[in-house]
Point group: C2
Chain length 418, copies 2
Amino acid sequence: MDHRIPKREADARRLFAFGDAEFGARMPQSLLSSSMVGSANRGLVIQALFDLGPTSRAELARLAGVNRTTISGIVQPLLDADILVENDPVQTGRGGGKPARPLWFSPKAQPICGVLLMPDAVHACLVTLDGHVLADHRVLLPEGGGPVEPIIDAVIRSVTLTLAEAERPPFGIGIAVGGMVDTDLGTIVAVNLAPALDGYPIATRLSHEFGLPVRLDHHPRALLVGDRWFGQGRGVPQFAVVYTGEVLGGALYFGGHLYRGASGAGGELGHTFVQVDGELCRCGRRGCWDTIATLGWLRREARVLGLPEADDMDSARLVDLVQRGVQGAEPLFDRYARNIAVGIANLQQTVAPNYFILHGDAVLGGERMIARISDHVRHLVPSRPGTLIEIVAGDAGDQAALLGAAGLVLSDLLQFSI
Amino acid sequence: MDHRIPKREADARRLFAFGDAEFGARMPQSLLSSSMVGSANRGLVIQALFDLGPTSRAELARLAGVNRTTISGIVQPLLDADILVENDPVQTGRGGGKPARPLWFSPKAQPICGVLLMPDAVHACLVTLDGHVLADHRVLLPEGGGPVEPIIDAVIRSVTLTLAEAERPPFGIGIAVGGMVDTDLGTIVAVNLAPALDGYPIATRLSHEFGLPVRLDHHPRALLVGDRWFGQGRGVPQFAVVYTGEVLGGALYFGGHLYRGASGAGGELGHTFVQVDGELCRCGRRGCWDTIATLGWLRREARVLGLPEADDMDSARLVDLVQRGVQGAEPLFDRYARNIAVGIANLQQTVAPNYFILHGDAVLGGERMIARISDHVRHLVPSRPGTLIEIVAGDAGDQAALLGAAGLVLSDLLQFSI
DNA sequence: CGCCATTGTGTGAGGCTCGCACAAAATCCT
DNA sequence: AGGATTTTGTGCGAGCCTCACACAATGGCG
């Protein structure tokens, strides 16, 4: 891999906020300068394009409440750098007037490499700025984790294969990790089933290997970022993502940013208490939400009830049993939905998102599952005048996480200084 | 009250972000302009002064990583407007050099009017920029609430009395309300024990009455703002406030801002579930944190145990009983502390603040109470390498809320556009 | 007394947005 | 058919802000 960056790529990168290819080196809360205004506004305009779809300069200016010339000045360098293109002229609705030239992301723009690192496999892909997945490589990891180097080799192999298909070097590499991470340091804190990775500085390693900026984050937060740029969260000012399945996780978006607590903690919803002194949790405490809203709970209860395929029970199977009228399925379905709703209600009360995107197992249960969870949440949250809580399904497969991983890089590219 | 604003006051106001005296009219997420850079940086410099204490221009420039001339340019108009003053020259530590002139808030600066509106009384005061309380007036409200106009009259009377003692018209009026509010509209949503106030547009009313900008917020959030500007939260990048007593409440600070959910919801921690299907709560649901961590719970349990003065039990009395070795007091003390810790632990897991400032009843229990709560929190939160959770006591009286109410105006004055 | 370090202040350069004027392009109306 | 109207996108100078540099002021140290 050539470490030198062609001139056009360097220009494109300078239009964004990336200072250098190294991880970290984020400035602390400092004063603003005029040049930061430039990059911040560039980010805001691109963000608006994501939220609105192809949009003309004049329309962007109207929506942002600024002068048309300002938008022209902002987008011109982006057009020159092949990040945006002018689409064909489009007639504005009523009256006459010069037809608008909507702006959209150029197919010739550099892509982003998204990586999903789970305990059992690595999945890498290329994502275009408009959210299309181009290349796509999956490498299985040794059973039970094993030593660290083979895992890292697998990551590097999958990324190398993916990058080989890119026509232009990507903007950067984003990694969604199925475990705890430290986003400040770019290190893995702990991955269940792959303890060898604990503390591994994977961002630095990949950055040196490929000479590209690398951003990593926790799996649920990557899901949120994917939804924000490419999914159900586009244009929504505040929302939360809740992931259910073998584990529970959550993430928050508001004020134009993914919420990250100190060092990237936060959203560890699985081990909040919903039943003080309740059932013993695998974390060693008692009464965590994890004990009543994971697949583990569902399968245990299904076994007690003697439901078919109890050991492989999930939302899809459960809904199927309910629809076939199997004895005991409907009450279990209702309890499972309610248990999930309890955690969502607590999150709603604590930080007041009114729009939730569910990922993971709950999505497999389809509209019926989502609707039942919604019903319970609405009953569990004290009503507040004028507030409507909406719950929707995200994408359940790897795709959401891969788009999210790519979105991590995008979020960084558009970093608006404050 | 004269509605015209003297020239010097108008100048001072223009240096901040207040567009006009009306409530609302906040701009949506829009593009930045150069002039916004100016007001944002002005706000950041003043914020730095709050966090650092008296500081010279050169020192501020070093800490912010900007040119000295930039700081000079920023503070000069603030000096001209009598908001800041140059303190006496101070010799820098080692070596020679021209002595620095630390900048600090001028005693001649306009004050801020802080108001605390509780179901039983209105409390108004004047607060200087360096956190001193000048005038101070308290008006009792009619028992049981009653109609709305007498309550509003009492508010206006207390503010009028307070403003009469001000040498210069204050920057604005901040109100901490002991109930639900809508910070977007500046209205009261619901105050227990004073239902006549529900939906009352108190910000607009006071703004018209006194011709001043009015900001209002929920009581716990005002506490947080007070701590951020004048208390334990100064210079802390991320922290949470938890209020315990007759009710429970919380608020979050991070990223340079108080966190407000949509319309000012969020932090309604009292009715998060910690005991699914547990004891019946006054909100009609079961197992809210409110059922195990309020004074109501403490007094109920004290009665069951036959402790003296059970009906007036609070943390101060309880700690006293513990110190005197009264039978049953120590276990109740421990359970109460643990019940409070449960909610704090959940908040920590959800949004990951590592610094908590307690207010209300828990503070009355002194260092012993705080220490016990801390112990429980540390046991209830899964450990994360390198993370230390710190819990401190705030101020328990009205003072904290009044400073907080004034801080609401200050936060708005320093609004850094994004 | 001379040298050095540090603080605070002018001055011009460069970046950004804004308002205005103007060319280009399509529709509407007579 | 042709002019009026409307809308889009683009130069140009003004104004605001930060920055780099030079310079006066002030005190310690040898």
